[in-house]
């Protein structure tokens, strides 16, 4: 058989990586190549260099080192029992692709993941060689994200953290039980221990020794994980509780929710349906409320009938509709926390309100200029020249503020 071309390998191994939701290249230390001795920079905030028609950003070269795999996870297209075409990159090929794409300003760096070949250690070892070669042989200063294999030896994870900006370990599914059912070779305990280990190493990397020297930085952009939504029966409350545990326990930078895509040649153990994209979107919105708006997970899920978020309105609006006694809020007097809970006012708008309020009273038009979504906010606020009167108690409030129904694909 003729050897496979690089183009063909790239097609197979990027196709295999596309079910991974993560694309961020943000966070971490700032670097540059102003000295002329290397290539690349990281600015702290990532750049999306292109967008595909699925609405996702292309920031990194997101590929699998190989899609050969000895595991048999039901939700994964690369499981050993799937009959997809297989390919494998050499270390040099990945290095070359990364550098050539980077030089043409196509990408921010590399996001490398892999199927498990031979053993977890062998696979992780090869991934580390790629990262090492980029950093040491080619003085690459762009972004590197390595998806670590929870079962690999601690020394390998340690080395990975020294070369990579971010490490991630996927929890895969929201509950331990689902992991055991659909990914029999993976162990939820080991995944958690690996995440705990990354947190400890990262924190150790921030402490100075008694001589005042800093140890080398470990995964400066932190760690993240991914959960597949819609492949098992877990409801949104379970998913969000699980995410809260991960954020607080392992200091994750992000939890990615990936709507389960009907994977070509999917396993018969899983339903073949359209991916629940709206649900994924609502989960991200809820995730944001948890991290930036001071919401508790119970508050969000209390407004969610049957433990699932309302697909028709966003979770903040759903909460407000269920707590009308808290409104209307006086924009000129309310505390920051109360303002953040008004539908249609985002973090930035609230910041602007607070800054301007110090000088003068705000009026309706001011809010519009500050970027508030007044169509949503209107019933929930009062201003010197605006009062919602009985709007907030009106029975048809939901219909007035909710976006017009679109064709929602309910899972």
């Amino acid at each position: 058989m003729a050897p496979m071309t690089l183009d063909r390998k790239l097609a197979i191994l990027s196709d295999a990586a596309k079910y991974d939701a993560s694309c961020a290249s943000s966070g971490g230390q700032k670097r540059n190549s102003r000295d002329g001795k290397g290539l690349g920079s990281t600015t702290g905030s990532g750049i999306c260099h292109a967008y595909t028609p699925d609405g996702r950003c292309i920031s990194l070269l997101k590929i699998l080192m190989t899609n050969f795999c000895i595991y048999d996870c039901a939700y994964c297209v690369n499981r050993v029992s799937s009959n997809v075409e297989r390919a494998r990159f050499s270390v040099e090929e990945v290095v070359r692709l990364t550098l050539e794409f980077y030089r043409r300003n196509y990408i921010e760096g590399l996001f490398l993941s892999s199927g498990i070949i031979r053993s977890p250690d062998d696979t992780m070892g090869e991934m580390v060689r790629i990262a090492r070669s980029l950093r040491e042989d080619h003085h690459f200063r762009g972004y590197i994200h390595l998806k670590t294999i929870p079962d690999a030896a601690p020394e390998l994870i340690e080395a990975a953290g020294l070369f990579a900006d971010r490490l991630s370990i996927n929890v895969e599914l929201p509950t331990d039980r689902s992991v055991q059912t659909y990914a029999p070779e993976k162990s939820p305990d080991r995944i958690r221990r690996a995440m705990a280990d990354v947190r400890l190493r990262k924190e150790a990397g921030q402490e100075r020794s008694h001589t005042g020297k800093r140890p080398p930085r470990f995964a400066p952009a932190g760690q993240s994980t991914q959960m597949i939504v819609g492949a098992d029966g877990a409801n949104d409350a379970t998913i969000l509780q699980s995410a809260t545990r991960l954020y607080s326990g392992y200091r994750l930078k992000r939890v990615y929710y990936s709507a389960f895509s009907p994977i070509p040649d999917a396993s018969s153990a899983l339903p073949l349906v359209k991916p629940p994209l709206v649900r994924e979107h609502r989960l991200y919105q809820a995730d944001w409320l948890l991290r930036f708006y001071g919401f508790e997970v119970d508050e969000i899920t209390a407004a969610a009938p049957g433990g699932n978020l309302d697909l028709g309105v966003d979770p903040k609006l759903a909460w407000a509709l269920a707590h009308r006694e808290r409104f209307p809020v006086d924009v000129n007097r309310a505390e920051r926390e109360a303002l953040l809970r008004v539908p249609g006012l985002g973090v930035k708008t609230v910041k602007r309100v607070l800054a301007t309020r110090r000088h003068r009273a705000l009026r309706y038009d001011d809010l519009r200029r500050m970027g508030a979504n007044l169509k949503q906010a209107r019933p929930f606020i009062t201003l010197p020249d605006w009062t919602p009167r009985s709007m907030v108690d009106a029975a048809d409030l939901r219909a007035r503020v909710a976006p017009p129904p679109e064709q929602l694909s309910l899972f």
Binding site: Y51, T52, R56, L61, R103, R104, Y106, S261, T356
Partner: protein, 443 residues
């Protein structure tokens, strides 16, 4: 009146120095005329700056950040507006944190536009290799058309990132050249010829493969990557094909179309009406927009005009089932009168917004011939619908070279007085049989 001419590079520093002197000399904003580039004569212009001097001017910290961005905006009023704000700040110290103030809001808006443009430039510049791949310092070049004068302020991003190679970024306003570790600026230029770069093919392979056809969120893509950038991006040419080929192509598109909010017509309509017919049809028939019946049924060409079309097509020997029939605009536009909905012709920008969908249908079906029925279809396909009756019967071309046969819309025939109708129907029949002949879509 004083006229201040600011240079094309180092604009911020020049503006700052000028503003300082003017402020020190108490020159009010309305007495200054600002411009960028070469100085021109102005009958009423008194010359230049008052003598330098005048102590330091203290401004709130945020103002300098604001000005540093606003000076690169393309709006000719930007320098004057900045100076007016500076002037006002002397009395109203807190003005800058007042995001509700219209002056501040306008300048913040400009700063934001410049920031966004800069960000998009760092994202969408695409280099091609122009030197030897084996050279110790490799050489690359790119062409970019920013919305504002941002080449100079954005250059440090590229020097920081591509420190070990030589590169040139040409824009219509300014060209940045980085050679041997030194950056210099040259005059702007038209698009330079750049050699082919084989890596682009690998990049396109990547773009094609990383796309997940099970999800289609076209508006999310165009919101972040507006079409104006596409022609300089090697991967963008793939987009229409990827969308058209995604999953069960037509069903996917119909679903995306159902959520279309590109123009306000969706508000009053029942539903968007996608085209219908074989996905590999050789003939595509494009009408104006769904009518009352179509809007209710969700299918094209089922109302009176559609029935007339069917009848005449059958007489002309055109197999409607072999053609892909669709409309230039996908939502019904009407005026409600009592209990009736009266048809209204779509506006130019509605046609323009909806062309996105027609283009997708065209990219998917790739017909050999398009039959444009009426001025709206003609405008959408060729860019102009003027002079329909003069152009009918002729074969024109879309932008990508697909032949377009021009004819009238069947509803035009319905509106004609009884005596004139027969002759016009005969001409319409002749056009349809010609279309059937060219494409072989005969009964």
């Amino acid at each position: 009146m004083r006229r201040i001419t600011l240079p094309e590079t180092g604009t911020f520093e020049a503006w700052r120095d000028a503003a300082r002197s003017l402020l020190a000399a108490d020159v009010p904003p309305e007495a200054v005329l600002w411009q960028r580039g070469a100085a021109e004569e102005d009958l009423f212009a008194e010359d230049a700056l008052p003598p330098a001097g005048g102590g330091q001017v203290t401004v709130p910290r945020g103002f300098v950040d604001l000005a540093r961005r606003v000076v690169w905006h393309r709006d000719p009023e930007r320098f004057g507006l900045l100076y007016a704000l500076l002037w006002a700040l002397r009395r109203e110290r807190g003005l800058l944190s007042d995001r509700g103030d219209p002056r501040v809001a306008r300048l913040q808006g400009m700063a934001k536009a410049v920031g966004r443009d800069r960000h998009k430039m760092t994202a969408f510049v695409r280099f091609r290799e122009i030197g030897e791949p084996e050279a110790p310092r490799r050489a690359f070049a790119a062409w970019f058309e920013p919305a504002h004068f941002i080449m100079e302020p954005v250059a440090p991003f590229f020097t920081d990132r591509f420190g070990d190679m030589d590169w040139t970024i040409a824009t219509p306003d300014l060209t940045a050249v980085f050679e041997g570790g030194r950056l210099r600026f040259e005059a702007g230029q038209p698009r330079p010829p750049l050699p082919e770069d084989a890596t682009e093919e690998l990049w396109r392979t990547y773009f094609r493969s990383i796309f997940n056809p099970a999800r289609l969120k076209v508006s999310a893509m165009t919101a972040e990557m507006p079409r104006k950038y596409w022609h300089n991006m090697p991967e963008a040419a793939l987009i229409p094909g990827l969308i058209a080929g995604a999953g069960a192509r037509a069903a996917e598109m119909a679903e995306a179309l159902a959520g279309c909010r590109r123009c306000p017509l969706w508000r009053d309509a029942t539903q968007a009406v996608p085209g219908e017919g074989p996905q590999d049809a050789k003939l595509m028939v494009v009408g104006e927009q769904p009518g009352d019946r179509e809007d209710l049924a969700g299918r094209p060409f089922v109302g009176p005009a559609g029935q007339l079309f069917d009848r005449v097509a059958a007489e002309a020997g055109l197999d409607r089932g072999a053609a892909y029939v669709t409309n230039a605009v996908k939502h019904f536009k009407f005026r409600a009168r009592g209990k009736r909905r009266l048809h209204r012709a779509p506006e130019r920008d509605e046609i323009e917004h909806c062309r996105w969908w027609l283009d997708l249908e065209r990219a998917g079906v790739r017909p050999r011939l398009i039959l444009a029925m009426g001025a709206t279809a003609l405008a959408s396909l060729t860019g102009s619908g003027a002079g329909l009756l003069r152009r009918r019967g002729g074969v024109e071309e879309t932008e990508d070279g697909t032949p377009v046969l021009v004819t009238v819309h069947p509803s035009y025939l319905l509106r004609l007085p009884e005596d004139a109708r027969a002759a016009e129907v005969a001409r319409f029949r002749a056009d349809l049989s010609r279309a059937a002949e060219i494409t072989g879509c005969t009964l």
